[in-house]
């Protein structure tokens, strides 16, 4: 148990399942009773989740369950109507998306959002935006610290790209990359923001089994090398069951259940959510 910034004890486990190695550390992300309404429609309700410092967690649920909406809530793309979010103990209330990014959350998108006219290297360098010390004056004069900042940017970016075997493509225009490389680039760019937690939105979409296996490996490498947590939305059950330590299941904007992969796999409510009541009765 640990104290967060305001001195209160973080009340977990609360249906949260922090891996043993993270016990005793402040959770990196804590969502409490998040909710949002769009007009008359309640898209997400009473969403609470705690993620351990180096946990790999999964968020699953049928299509339209509200998973990406949750991501948007966590990054303040949508301001939550109810509830609050703590990142490393600090509240994100009222902050804009770019401020939340500075607090330590990075994300990728369901439909890849790359800077298609910029080179691969430049894409990653944009991720480094907040870590580079380059004033406007320096940028315009190419002096006063410009050279140093750009050298640092180049080396860090190339190192990150190398981690994912994208270094050779550094000068290619991002828009012309093959699909798999684009997905990897988006992850590299997110990592460049030095996050404490990485949110991946359907990272395995459109991948074949061998690519998925490679992705699983990469996610583990990210966690092991950068010591950050990963929360991913996925439909590919092999991936989810394979690497997630904790899984949260969403349906119609509400959490159905949380647990370890084994618990989720055999949970009848989950099966029903995906296959419908008839399907559930057939499998059971």
């Amino acid at each position: 148990m640990d104290m967060n910034k305001s001195g209160r004890l973080v009340p977990y486990p609360s249906g949260a399942f922090i891996p043993e190695r993270d016990l005793g550390n402040m959770p990196v992300l804590e969502a409490r009773h998040l909710g949002i309404d769009f007009g008359g429609l309640t898209a997400v309700d009473d969403f609470s989740l705690t993620i351990g410092r180096t946990e790999i967690a999964g968020l699953i649920g049928p299509n339209g369950a509200g998973k990406t909406t949750v991501f948007n809530l966590l990054t303040n793309v949508y301001q939550p109507t109810r509830g609050n979010i703590l990142v490393n103990g600090y509240s994100t209330a009222g902050k804009s998306t770019h401020q939340v990014s500075k607090m330590g959350i990075a994300r990728t998108f369901q439909n890849i959002r790359l800077y298609s006219n910029l080179s691969v290297l430049d894409n990653v360098k944009v991720g480094l935006h907040n870590t580079l010390k380059e004033s406007f004056f320096a940028a315009v004069t190419h002096g006063f610290g410009y050279g140093k900042a750009e050298r640092v940017a180049d080396s860090v970016a190339l190192e990150l790209l190398d981690f994912f075997s994208l270094a050779d493509l550094a000068e290619t225009t991002a828009g012309s990359l093959p699909y798999g490389a684009q997905r990897r680039l988006e992850i590299v760019r997110a990592l460049a923001t030095s996050p404490s937690i990485l949110l991946l939105d359907e990272p395995a979409a459109g991948m074949n089994p061998s690519e998925t296996a490679e992705l699983m490996e990469n996610i583990r490498r990210i966690r092991d090398n950068f010591h950050i947590a990963v929360l991913l939305i996925e439909h590919d059950m092999n991936l989810v069951m394979g690497i997630c330590e904790g899984i949260c299941v969403l349906n119609y904007g509400k959490i159905i259940t949380k647990g370890t992969p084994d618990e989720i796999r055999s949970n009848p409510t989950v099966i029903e959510a995906y296959l419908g009541r008839k399907g559930a009765s057939e499998t059971c």
Partner: protein, 292 residues
């Protein structure tokens, strides 16, 4: 009080012309998703057609109007075919520049053909004026308002009830999907331009009747005002175009009368900016929800 009403009437009159022009603009934008910058100049062509038909060919007014509509529709279709269709995949800014090129072309062609001195628009029909509670509303205003309302109603019915109207709505939402459903996107867009340009011709009748003098550059500023009115009301929305046009006319007239003619342009645009800041998609525009 009477002064207020009179200003209101003048505003309505001005506004109805803007509304008529804005309708054509918004139709084309709504379906083809492009700003036909040359719309104002098509109005100018329509006005000149009537001038030629009546003053030189001595044709009866109705025939002149029909000819003008035909000329404009053909012009619109031709311009679409030659200058806009090849650019359908191009970024919207390129299309805008091409439209600007077309606009300049029409202006200069008219300059060569008709010269730069102004020509008088013939009075083709006289509309009876109406007296309401001591205020006289001139016939042209009534006619413009009536025609604009009728056109707006028919357009709305056309778009919502007919098959072609449905095709237009489909193309406006998603060209690719519409094509896959068997809708000929080319033909739909061509038809849209034809209708939009025909509307421009109708607008030119009332514009000419109200302003009398026509020059090759006459279409430019009204084109900008029509664009403004269409965006003001929410671009792509037909009732929006009407509302935007009328409001623009009223605001312009009121600022001319009560503040100063000198400042009226600044005030009109100032109000526009204010309203757009408060309602970023125009008065009746649809909120575009970006999927994240």
């Amino acid at each position: 009080m009477i002064y207020l009403v009179r200003t209101l009437i003048s505003g309505l009159s001005l506004g109805s012309i803007y509304a008529l022009m804005a309708l054509g603009y918004t139709m084309v934008y709504g379906v083809a998703k492009m700003l036909n910058f040359a719309h104002g100049d098509i109005i100018m062509v329509g006005a000149y057609s009537i001038i030629v038909a009546v003053s030189q060919a001595h044709l009866p007014p109705l025939a002149a109007v029909l000819i003008s509509v035909a000329v404009c529709a053909c012009l619109g279709v031709t311009v679409e075919f030659l200058a806009y269709r090849p650019l359908r995949q191009a970024p919207p800014l390129n299309v805008l520049i091409t439209a600007i090129g077309v606009s300049y072309f029409l202006q200069n062609a008219a300059l060569l053909v008709f010269g730069s001195e102004q020509k008088a628009f013939p009075s083709i029909v006289s509309f009876p004026s109406l007296s309401v509670g001591g205020v006289e509303i001139d016939g042209i205003t009534l006619a413009t308002l009536a025609v604009t309302a009728v056109i707006m109603a028919s357009l709305t019915l056309f778009i919502s009830k007919t098959r072609i109207g449905k095709a237009m709505r489909a193309v406006s939402e998603d060209k690719g999907a519409a094509e896959l459903m068997g809708i000929s996107v080319n033909r739909t867009i061509t038809l849209t331009f034809a209708v939009g340009s025909a509307l421009a011709a109708v607008a030119s009748i009332f514009f000419g009747a109200a302003y009398v003098y026509v020059r090759p550059t006459t279409g430019a500023m009204p084109g900008i005002k029509a664009f403004t009115a269409a965006v003001f009301g929410g671009i792509g929305s037909i009732p929006g175009a009407m509302l935007g046009g009328i409001m623009l006319g009223i605001i312009e007239q009121f600022s001319k009368t009560y503040i100063s003619t000198l400042w009226s342009d600044a005030i009109v645009f100032g109000v526009l900016v204010l309203i757009l800041v408060v309602r970023p998609t125009g008065l009746l525009g649809r909120k575009l929800n970006e999927k994240v």
